[in-house]
Symmetry: C2
Subunit: 336 residues, 2 copies
DNA sequence: TTGAAAGCGTTACCAT
DNA sequence: ATGGTAACGCTTTCAA
């Protein structure tokens, strides 16, 4: 059984309030006593109980994170940033995954509330506002990264999806492409809607009307990218370039293109979104729209902490996205 | 402020012990009262405090996980399995990352102990046994997945690294390769040592002596794979095949090979280790030694729970690895 | 079937 | 500078 403050008090012949003070480096304790108590504590291998402390302090120094899956590199990298930043601020992170299911997400939030986390970060939260609020009896600061829904439901951190989609498409347009396809994400994801808007805006800026035949949908994972690409390849006139909802989708699309005997970028240019750490190492290195993952994670915890300290100034923030040109794009071979 | 059991007691006109019992579905409380109390609790939006409960129950229903980085897909996938399994068993997971630094790992373990996690899982724990034990005053079950050190320090889950390295190399040998290089992991990682042993055993089984020139070292990430590959490519006689410590290294190696104008697998066969989810989607799809990631994660939490329930039968387990042949390997063009 | 009270390991306030 | 004690929100005897 763990040694408690009382055990130390007994061993050091002082009251346990003194022990508590000494261990918390209170100036109210004589240096000498303090030293002795610490000695004893160390000898006895004392480790304070965060749970007892949490109970009385009413804060757990814990941030709850819910994410659909950590198995997607983009999420993993954001979470990594969250954890690092939290650690620096002496917070720990409880990680829960929802598998993208609103039911499970709600259950996860509930569990985090029961654990009395000081704040929560939802990465691509998938529930609707009213459900979330219903669950949200305790007023625990909650910030959402890349909210799946259009509706604002509190503090959120977004990336400029429209701008990103536009940049990606403009890049392709500037290279000379005209038949540019788009593989969107799941229809319910708002960021996908926005990226597609950017895509369409860019086309229109070039006087092109978005062609429904060239717009299809994946599932944000490679598998979906493959299937979408296969559909695109079956078209009477194939696209010469393609803008994908995210890097995972792009990886799938490239796989399908290779399987069909195409070369990238000679026969098909592809642009992704996210800029996962692996992007520069793919074959070919993937041109993609970078999201500032580290910053998104860091800002999320800073936002939670600001909220926690009663700061009312906190505002939603939308971070810029940035096109990173690598090897998966080039001018089309035949200008259409 | 959160509503507590006492608030409910007041509202429902019963003692708070009764409320506690009702909420825990104790048979000692009349169905009618139970129902009424629940009603009130629901109306008041009551959410039990896991921290108070943890204090009295002396268990937190929490498993602490420490990993070097979640940014590596292999780890991410193992952790995903841990989290899923834990959830099913009504446990939550506190995630901490050590960045592969023993100092930070120790600090993380200490933090987890203070939080009184019921058990801990170290994924590729990097500290030495004695340090770990020193830290381990409370006897918290601790299981290690892929222990970095040779020494056994408790319950661990390993994969058959030697067998995996052997299978990978035998596959290459059977294809007809004779100049087979190896890019190892960081020298301090025991699993790397074992995989290399497997590699050497296979060569010897074919009457080949491992050639130090063909054995180099990465850092378990793509960057290291690139650099290692560049060294290999600078050799007077290049290898025709290469077995890499892990998939991330293989990805880097392939990148360097492509950059040098080689084709894979025509000019160079490559085999990885891990079988990350992305492996089948790479170009070419990566031949690799699969680790049973889901099972490793699941077994780890089962082991923790078994230990927790006082089961003394728990034994270290080593899971089989399995070669998955995909497109990155083929017979060498010129048999040397 | 219900209530009263002790106790989990802390912090913090009030005395001394 | 130190000790005593209440309180945090819950579970669990022990009584009634």
């Amino acid at each position: 059984m763990a040694v408690s403050i009382k055990d130390i008090a007994r061993a050091a012949q002082v009251s346990y309030s003194t022990v508590s003070r000494a261990l918390n480096d209170s100036p109210l304790v004589k240096a000498e006593t303090k030293e002795r108590i610490r000695q004893v504590a160390a000898e006895m291998g004392y480790l304070p109980s965060a749970v007892a402390r949490s109970l009385v302090m009413r804060r757990t120094q814990t941030i709850g994170v819910v994410v659909s899956t950590i198995t997607d590199l983009f999420f993993a990298e954001v979470i990594h940033a969250i954890e690092e930043t939290a650690l620096r601020c002496r917070y720990n992170v409880i990680l829960t995954n929802s598998g993208g299911d609103p039911q499970r997400e709600l259950a996860a939030i509930r569990a985090l509330c029961e654990r009395r986390v000081d704040g929560m970060i939802l990465v691509s939260g998938c529930s609707r506002r009213k459900d979330l609020c219903a669950e949200h009896k305790l007023d625990i600061p909650m910030v959402i990264i890349n909210n799946v829904h259009q509706e604002h439901l509190g503090y959120s951190i977004e990336v400029d999806n429209i701008g990103g989609g536009r940049q990606a498409t403009l890049h392709l347009l500037e290279l000379g492409h005209r038949r540019i396809a788009h593989i969107a994400g799941p229809s319910r994801e708002w960021d996908s809607v926005e990226r597609q808007q950017g895509y369409e805006q860019a086309l229109q800026a070039y006087g092109l009307e978005p062609d429904p035949m060239l717009i299809t949908r994946g599932n944000s994972r490679p598998r979906g990218g493959i299937e979408a690409m296969e559909r695109l390849l079956a078209l009477p006139v194939r696209p010469t370039a393609i803008f994908c909802y995210n890097d995972a989708t792009a990886i799938g699309a490239m796989r399908a293109a290779y399987a069909a005997g195409l070369r990238i970028p000679q026969d098909l240019s592809v642009v992704g979104f996210d800029d996962i750490d692996l992007a520069p190492y793919l074959e070919p290195p993937l041109t993609t729209v970078a999201q500032p993952k580290r910053e998104m994670g860091a800002r999320a915890v800073e936002m939670v902490l600001a909220l926690l300290s009663g700061d009312q100034q906190v505002e939603d923030c939308v971070l810029p996205s940035r096109l990173v040109i690598r090897g998966s794009t080039m001018p089309p071979r035949i200008i259409v």
